[in-house]
Amino acid sequence: MTPDAIRPAPIVTEDSAAFWDAADEGRLVAQRCAKCGRLRHPPRPMCPECRSLDVEMVTLSGRGTVYSYAILHHPRHPAFEYPVLAALVDLEEGIRLVSNLVGVARAEIRIGMPVEVEFAATDGGHRVPVFRPAESSL
């Protein structure tokens, strides 16, 4: 990133705080229903499967594959370096995240490529999960 390009901090809600708090500590987590065990993302207060309000946060492997991507050119926001490599990552536990790809050239991005998580700094001292090509795939 250029020195003045610092990604905006996530806006945290009561329902999402546990996800972002864990990210600040370098952990990728998801909600799991404490009753039926269903994983879910984005976070929400109720299990859509069994309606339980009991939830636990589980740490994920951080491994997944690129489900889709887009190379964003315009419009440009000063917090980002362009082009932005946006992606949908399907994690091996079965949930999907919107994120960025890092450490990869544009021309090398492929749907289905294995990726693994790392954490990128944001404004305000927070960190958010981003994904680089998996070691085993290099």
Partner: protein, 391 residues
């Protein structure tokens, strides 16, 4: 299964539209006043006849200010439809339901927008002041924003890339639809693209917005303007000056884990599953055949979603929209003349409601690019839609 009771009970009796521009130079409230009084004049009705108001949750024009300005006397029914542009055709469902239920006798539907000159440009990069985007159906702002996915184009590109990957669609395949839209716009004096047709080369050479699916010319216009509709009973509309356009079918279809522009959480994003459900509800649920549709007005904020809706609604097989388009089916001589005003890409973007205006003109026989003897026209915005008809 019988069709819902409101089928065909209500009709569009009037339409009004301001000029479409990039700088209206007046408030959304004023734009709404202008389009509404134009629609009432078209319908041969007065403000005192109006007892219902329907708009979008995201519309900036307050009902109280509108009532005070236009001089409505007593509003019995008012509501707003969520889901942003995806909900745009829902105004027809709400208005027709209210009329059929007897909750209102004359309902005005309106949308006023300054998508270009206003405080927020439609395509501008936004880092949200809140975790959601305020009832637009784009609930995942907090999940996109830290990643630089800050615009509708960027959110929809993630789905579009998967669509292209799954079915072997190229940017040129999508561009052929844009060339058709711009050909329609080129003959529409109200369109941004009037007298400005493009070639496929123009499309391919326009700059990337979101690679590999959205060039600049794949994007709708950022437009200032307003559109209004007057909906009343078909019985009453028959006595009014304009040719009545019946609301034969209307429905919404909002699925589990679905969002609007940020629709990233359904397992298979190569198919617009909301459109599949909508097509089932409109065609099967109301007993109308796809073959009976003479023209379609399909929400084209970005061109890839036009192809995806053609497939989802069942006008062609999954993966076949690129061939359906290449074969010229969207043209007046094709199987499904589509967005004959130029669409949101060629005419302008009043958040989808100008597509209902065009559907109405087609059924009245007054469109610039007229489909001969059009009797059944579909309007669709991926998760809300309607089928309009003429007796």
């Amino acid at each position: 299964m019988s069709a819902p009771a409101f089928s065909g009970v209500a009709a569009i009796a009037g339409i009004g539209q301001t000029e479409l521009s990039r700088h209206a130079g007046r408030s959304e409230l004023q734009l709404a006043c202008e389009s509404i009084t134009a629609a009432l004049a078209d319908a041969g009705l007065a403000p005192a006849d109006v007892d219902g108001l329907v708009s979008y949750t995201v519309d900036p024009v307050e009902e109280t200010e509108l009532v005070r300005s236009v001089g409505f006397e007593e509003i019995a029914f008012s509501c707003r439809v969520p889901y942003g542009g995806g909900g745009s055709m829902g105004v027809l469902l709400h208005a027709a339901s209210a009329v059929a239920a007897g909750a209102a006798r004359v309902v005005v539907c309106y949308r006023a927008i300054r998508a270009r000159s206003g405080a927020t440009r439609f395509g501008g990069a936004k880092t949200a002041p809140s975790p959601t985007s305020g009832h637009s159906g784009t609930t995942a702002m907090q999940w996109c924003m830290p990643y630089g996915a800050l615009t509708p184009a960027s959110w929809m590109a993630l789905n579009s890339t998967r669509f292209m990957h799954e079915f072997g669609v190229t940017s040129a395949d999508i561009g052929r639809a844009v060339v058709q839209l711009r050909a329609y716009a080129a003959t529409n004096p109200n369109a941004w693209g009037y007298e400005r047709p493009i070639t496929l080369d123009d499309h391919q050479e326009s700059r990337w917005i979101a690679e590999p699916c959205i060039h600049l010319l794949d994007c709708c216009q950022e437009t200032d303007g307003s559109v209004a509709l007057v909906v009343t009973s078909a019985e009453r509309a028959a006595d009014l000056p304009a040719t009545p356009v019946r609301i034969a079918a209307a429905s919404g279809a909002a699925l589990f884990e679905q969002e609007i522009a940020t629709d990233h959480y359904r397992p298979d994003l190569s198919v617009m599953e909301g459109s599949v459900a909508l097509g089932r509800r409109l065609f099967d649920g109301f007993g109308i055949a796809r073959d009976d549709v003479d023209a379609a007005m399909i929400y084209d904020a970005f061109s890839p979603i036009l192809l995806m809706q053609l497939e989802g609604l069942g006008f062609c097989d999954f993966g076949a929209a690129k061939d359906f388009v290449a074969d010229g089916n969207l043209a007046l001589a094709g199987a499904l003349p589509c967005n004959t005003n130029g669409g949101l890409i060629g005419e302008g973007y009043i958040h989808g409601l100008n597509l209902v205006g065009e559907a109405t003109r087609q059924l009245r026989g007054t469109a610039v690019n007229q489909v001969p003897d059009a009797r059944t026209v579909l309007v669709s915005a991926s998760r809300t839609g309607a089928i309009l008809s003429r007796d």
